[in-house]
Amino acid sequence: MLYLYSFIEIVYVILAAPLITGVQRSLEERIESKQGPSILQPYYDLIKLFHKESIVPQISSPVFRLGPYVIVMFYAFLAMILPIITAFPLPFAPSADFIGGGLFFGAAAAIKKFSAIDSRSNYAHLGTSRSASLAVFTEPIIVLIFIMLGVISNTNNPFVINNVLRSSPQWYFSLVHGFVLVAFFMVLIIETGQLPVESHSNGELGMIDQAMPFEYTGTDLAMYKLGSYMKTFILLSVFLNVYLIPFGVPMESSGFLSIIIYMGIHLLKLTGLIVIFALLNTTISKFRLYKNFDFLAVAFALAFLASLAYYIVK
């Protein structure tokens, strides 16, 4: 049965990930009083791209072709080990804790950069350079966040952290959790490429994630996009299920039906978060590129204050 849950989880992530991006794009346009694309537009794009031929730069190596497929594989694996639709570990969960999961996220990001660089496109290099500069500063923040939650729960297991936070109001309403929550939200903005940090246009002055897949086409681009959708979906799910609203995620005793029902609730939770992102994206103007590091400094300060609050308040 547990293997069936794993299978359902991975299929759910792959199928629902583009929907969340579609909802966000549609919502942003509607906030700006435009008609906007259908929420199914990412699916249409993916289907169109899967039917197209891939063109590969002559000077690129196999890394360029393989990169997007490996990235999707990594995210599919992460979908099986993180608490997305269950609050109990599924068969593959013991293979990595939070730090291990972080390493997989890091590895996927590194492969993304390597494959982008391998295209030899100047724009891809530009995006990779910017992405790496930001990642250098986001990684310590993420590590600090994980360490603080490890301190709270005495473990690095996301399922245990979920259980500690849902069963202990003392920790859930603590300053440490509050600071970690805000710091993680800020990191989420960076990791999912939301507007204060990254514009969604192809303007040279601000583009990061738009620049990296510049040379990708056809099926390869579809896989690259699917990987990005899955990354956003998984990160938002972890933020919601482990940190922000750990309540109501089905336990093993809840049964199959409750997991199916929870998928709908999970989508609603994600939509709520997407509404916040859409409001942010339509109301806050983009920071200039070098100002992103100030944003990161504040996120780091909040994560650091979480550790200080732990020692002061305990």
């Binding site: 100030d294 400094a297 504040v298 780091f300 300060a301 650091f304 204050l305 609050a309 002061i312 308040v313």
Partner: protein, 218 residues
């Protein structure tokens, strides 16, 4: 109740960090007004927690709202409108250091404040979170020395006073009202006394029948 005080204390630290992040003077004034309201809330809660101090803490909270939450920010804002055509664009032109650097330095100071308190007053006072006002005090000092704009420096000074109010209310409970009110009102008092002195001086000059020019001639 202690947990609420700790939350308010850390909120003030975060507000001061946001002041370091922000470069527009008008927004810093708003942040200061908001932090003053937090101080007032802190005093109200302290008053509810210490009924033996009668209503003095509520009076202090009211004074804080009137003076620091409303009057000083409004006066500063009006002055900005008077001095600049686009007051919302007035900003720190030449910060002593970058925002990232100043925030990291702020964190270092918060840690130093914690260690100083832990190794000095904590053994006497036994209030673990008493380091929060210390940290706030050091942060405010950094706000002053890392900015050149007079308004921001003045707000840094006011934040420093907020830290003193917090420290006196939280850690040294039972201070005489006149002392605590003095801390809250000192800036206003300074302005009032200065303006009174100037008025008295002006009237004495006019009584003698001298003009401003003759005063300048000495």
């Amino acid at each position: 109740m202690n947990q609420i005080f700790e939350v308010l204390g850390f909120l003030l630290i975060v507000f001061t960090l946001l002041m370091q992040w922000e470069i527009h003077v008008q927004r810093i004034i708003i942040l200061f007004a908001a932090s003053s309201f937090i101080i007032a809330l802190f005093l109200v809660l302290l008053g509810l927690n210490r009924p033996h101090e009668e209503n003095m803490l509520f009076v202090l909270a009211g004074l804080t709202i009137v003076v620091r939450g409303i009057t000083i920010p409004v006066v500063m804002n009006k002055a900005l409108h008077r001095l600049y055509k686009k007051p919302w664009r007035v900003r720190e032109d030449k910060p002593m250091m970058g925002v990232g650097g100043s925030i990291l330095l702020s964190l270092v100071l918060i840690t130093i404040g914690y260690f100083i308190y832990q190794n000095s007053l904590y053994s006497v006072l036994k209030v673990r979170s008493g380091s929060v006002p210390f940290a706030l005090f050091l942060q405010a000092s950094l706000l002053i020395i890392s900015h050149k704009h007079a308004y921001i420096q003045m707000i840094g000074f006011l934040v420093m006073e907020n830290a003193v109010v917090m420290l006196s209310g939280w850690v040294f409970g039972g201070l005489p009202f006149i002392v605590e009110a003095g801390v809250i009102l000192d800036l206003l008092g300074l302005v009032v006394v200065s303006s009174l002195i100037i008025r008295v001086r002006e009237s004495s000059i006019l009584r003698e029948g001298d003009t401003y020019e003759s005063e300048l001639r000495g």
